[in-house]
Amino acid sequence: MFKNNDLISSGQMAHILILTLIGVGILNLPGDLTEGIGTDGLWALLIGGIFTIGAAALIGYIIKKFPGKSYFEILTTSFTKPIAWIIAFLFILYALMINAFLIRVFGEVVKMFLLIRTPIEIIIFSVLLISAYLSRNGIEALGRLAELLFPIIMIPALILFLLGLIESDLTNLLPTFQATPMELVEVLPTAFFSFAGFEFILVFGTYLKRPDKAPKLMATGVGMVLAIYVIIFITILSIFGTEQLAHLVWPTMSVFKTIDFPGLFIQNVEGLVMVIWVFIVFMSIGPIHLVKTILIGDLLNLKERDFMALPLVPILYIVALIPENIAQTYAFMGSFSKYAIPIFALGVPILILISLGIRKGIGKERGSRA
């Protein structure tokens, strides 16, 4: 067990959820969405977000129905032990891939904007060590960190985006409702993927002080993320316009090159932005690292599992460095997430619910027979 007593409040869990999601999705959010359907990406984002709120509430419902149970225990009661073992193992692999992808992109961005000559290995390794330190300290430290960092990240970020809006042209959001419903449906998976990450909360569910509040907190959390994404989407689109957006690799970062901070000590806000950015992505890397630590501990039935955080570092390090370049990274992740995210964010939870329903049915039958 971890050093702390391992219970976090719903507020802290919601913060973990929000920060995990934003870190995964923020990077190429507007670019991906406007590809194909232009300004109507906003509607795709809204529809995808509302759909995700439903999916997240589903996960919250599972947590509520299995209070205090770990993800592995939930899987075991639902599908018997061997299958649970396989699913949990695949889940670890999935988390590993997402984490490695995040770390790689994180390293590339830091290298691009801050440390052009520093080897990416150093950038990746140093952040991994700190993420391992966070994982060692367990869920309580993570929950507190999430709640502490949330205003530290959000307040300056919102101010910066508002500054960006000053010189933007809101008419760039026009025209709307030009895409056919079919085109809209085609973009929906992209919108859904930008909310990937909420499924990891399943693993943290066991540490929730009030599991009965889980559905509500999951829905509010994803709703907050949706609101934040909409603000980002509107700002970026109104600054760049669809045509220019198509050319930018990291539009969210490029926004800040257009912001003027008149009369301040900082000329380019990029420095401040990079610090915030490091915080945001770390708050995705850290929780997913912890997810793996906890799950591996469960799988191997370890009593003390916090030390599992450290052996994961070299594995993550190697996996993150496998793709040869940024293009390959994105291509690989694109094809991977196409299958993995629906399976783990939708498929497994629905199966758990079905099995819950069946067992309930059986239980009722037995009850009525008796």
């Binding site: 904007f113 080897p119 140093s126 008419t171 025209p175 600054i239 316009g241 050319h247 090159k257 257009t258």
Partner: protein, 376 residues
């Protein structure tokens, strides 16, 4: 036990970083800050491999510290692209060129007339993470290096002088003062834009007029009056003035506010756009001890009519330049049609280049004079 040894391992790994680290560390005084770049064609080999001649304006540290008089140091080299040239310059310079403080890029018309070269340079600027999107980019007739060679008496550091011309200009509207982000935005849309023209003088630089970029290529120039009309069309006027001639009194009017809006009318496939301009202005000068008083309604009305006509003439001047001379829509009417009339846009977007000169543009100006100064 495991905890302690793992901490020690982490420490060793971490501390060993310090022994090799600091890849990006370059002390602040060991960098050569390229504050402005002039892009020219290499006259000695205009059509060969090393067609580009870049001139970097670097501030003299000693002069800033007050120990020398020469503020600007210019370094030039030739090559095929900017980065090759920077590497070549590295063989001659003690410090490394650094683009993080770049303020302005001046491109000669010769370069801008070659679309391939021009696009390469623009992309280099967009790709570089150090170059801010807030820098200024300008065209010049003749050699761009000449602009950097100007020694201004107002501001010894020429690149700063150029930047301040762009930033400080609040009294004229004779040049489109666009920054890199605006230009990228326009060029990404349809490859058309207008870029400020800088003309070097003896001890100063003039920003007036602009180069017409059509399909990533410089095709001609718009003169200062045409630029003003264009800015009215684009709803970018916030200042400037006109000189009216009322009964032999020369009356300068200063614009204080202006708003432009469009209406589109489609009849039998013919598109006509009505441009409504609402402007407010102040009378700045009339006549010392005049016979008439400006407080009389008729005089002001007459002045307002003249004001409206002056603006209308100005805008039509710009429209004819765009539609007849250059045949390129720099006014952003395509953007308007796209955003507000997407169905019409779908029909015309593929051959908009041919459609634009045929569009019937009608200008309606409503000008008001609000203030007359301290005397009647």
């Amino acid at each position: 036990m495991l905890k302690k040894s793992s901490i020690i391992l982490m420490l060793i790994v971490f501390l060993s970083n310090f022994l090799v680290g600091c890849w990006d560390k370059v002390e602040i005084e060991d960098r050569a800050y390229a504050l402005a770049i002039a892009v020219d064609i290499n006259d000695e080999a205009p059509d060969e491999e090393d067609e580009l001649l870049l001139t970097f304006a670097i501030p003299n540290n000693a002069a800033i510290a007050g120990e020398a008089d020469e503020f600007n140091i210019l370094f030039s080299s030739t090559g095929t692209n900017g980065y090759a040239i920077m590497r070549r310059l590295g063989t001659r310079m003690n410090n490394e060129l650094y683009l993080g403080h770049l303020k302005a890029v001046i491109i000669s018309d010769e370069v801008a007339r070659r679309p391939k070269l021009f696009r390469e340079i623009l992309d280099a600027m967009e790709k570089d993470p150090l170059i801010s999107r807030k820098i200024y980019i300008a065209l010049t007739e003749g050699k761009a290096r000449k602009v950097l060679e100007v020694e201004s008496e107002l501001e010894p550091l020429t690149p700063r002088y150029i930047r301040e011309i762009f930033e400080g200009d609040r009294v004229t509207n004779r040049a489109p003062l666009l920054d890199l982000n605006d230009i990228f935005y326009k060029l990404h849309r349809n490859g058309n834009s207008i870029i400020t023209r800088l003309t070097p003088g003896e001890t100063d630089v003039k920003a007036g007029g602009g180069g017409v970029i059509k399909d990533f290529q410089l095709t001609g120039w718009l003169e200062e009056e045409e630029i003003r009309g264009l800015m009215y069309l684009r709803d970018e006027i916030t200042f400037g003035g006109y000189e009216l001639d009322y009964k032999n009194y020369r009356v300068p009017v200063e614009i204080t506010e202006s708003k432009t809006s469009y209406r589109l009318i489609e009849e039998d496939g013919n598109i006509s756009i009505i441009v409504d301009v609402t402007t407010e202005g102040d009378v700045r000068q009339f006549y010392f001890d005049p016979q008439e008083t400006l407080l009389e309604h008729e005089i002001l009305e007459a002045l307002e009519t003249m004001f409206e006509e002056a603006i209308e003439d100005n805008i039509y001047l710009a429209i004819s330049a765009l539609q007849e001379e250059h045949e390129v829509d720099l006014a952003g009417l395509d953007k308007y049609i796209h955003k507000y009339h997407p169905s019409i846009w779908q029909k015309i977007k593929d051959d908009y280049e041919d459609v634009f000169p045929e569009i019937d543009i009608v200008v309606n100006v409503d000008a008001n004079i609000r203030r007359i100064g301290l005397t009647k």
